[in-house]
Symmetry: C2
Subunit: 162 residues, 2 copies
DNA sequence: GCAATAGCTAACAAAACTTGTTAGTTGCCA
DNA sequence: TGGCAACTAACAAGTTTTGTTAGCTATTGC
């Protein structure tokens, strides 16, 4: 995690101003446990900065995402959850308590050589085909450029009796 | 895909009534290309049944999900997208056109023996730890019960120049 | 240090998506 | 075919996120 000075420098190096709001959001993201929502961050930041708006929190979080300092985790409906862990990792979602857990090191074991995987069969169904009919065209995988992959495991977490 | 008669029988066998609305939504889901939203389905169904409400479409779609006849695909923000393909498969999302493509057969190649995978390191970060501090407790994987997994690939699709 | 300015924040409004509620209707079973 | 449980349509409202804009602030050149 970057120190305040490092964050200021990092923001300026990327053409953004080092404002107290951005520092507060960054720190809250790292202090908050798990995978907080924008609302979680807002509540945390307001403890020290009562007048900050939720809009500003959204803005700052998306700036951090754009700079690669955070990720958005989308594992289902509801509010977006933010992830300060930018290392390669996957997620486990408990179907009972709905908590999200980071899964480390599953990628190398599950995918050999990703993202250089070249022979995945892609696709079975076109997402943008002619609107009048289901498209079953199968394109050669070579024409699809895979850049990232994320794995979402679902099940029962240990505290819930998994 | 089930015939209308089969669908009626299937619905009744599961304690639901076989209504024209449910048939229309089911057929629209299968006629629509790709991974339609509830709104897409609504538009399609209204061609033949102009008075159906969006609420009813949502209801019918969730019934189909509950019965295992459809899946909800969550690959990011925006409206939920429904997937009539209930076979084991993954998804590719184009970062340019945002279309979703089904990816078949990636699972066996990428995961040996899933879901019996027992040695995934889980988790690095707790999603429900004490609210005051980040939890870095690592639980043994044996206490986590993995039931499903989905892989989301992202990149450039062939039509977009991948 | 200080002023000019580009960018940022707070407040407000509203979009987008989904669900709650309820009165009236309809499919289903006896 | 009648009675009832389930369903639908209509309406309202909740939730999450983004658009807009006037005033404020961090930065930079001096």
């Amino acid at each position: 995690m970057r120190s305040p000075d490092e964050l200021s420098e990092f923001l300026r190096a990327n053409g953004l101003k080092a404002t107290p709001q951005r520092h507060a959001v960054f720190e809250a993201l790292h202090r908050e446990s798990g995978h907080p929502t924008a609302d979680d961050i807002w509540a945390r930041v307001r403890e020290q900065m009562p007048t900050i708006s939720l809009r500003t929190v959204y803005q700052a979080l998306h700036d951090l995402v754009d700079l690669g300092e955070a990720r958005i985790v989308t594992v289902g409906a509801g509010a977006a959850q933010f992830d300060r862990n930018t290392e390669q990792h996957d997620h486990f979602v408990c179907r009972k308590c709905e908590a999200i857990f980071d899964v480390v090191s599953s990628r190398p074991r599950l995918m050999s050589g990703f993202p250089d995987v070249a022979d995945v069969e892609l696709p079975a169904t076109d997402g943008s085909g002619p609107s009048g009919a289901r498209s079953d065209v199968v394109e050669p995988a070579a024409n699809f450029q895979i850049e990232t992959a994320e794995v979402i495991f679902r099940g029962l977490c240990a505290p819930c009796g998994g």
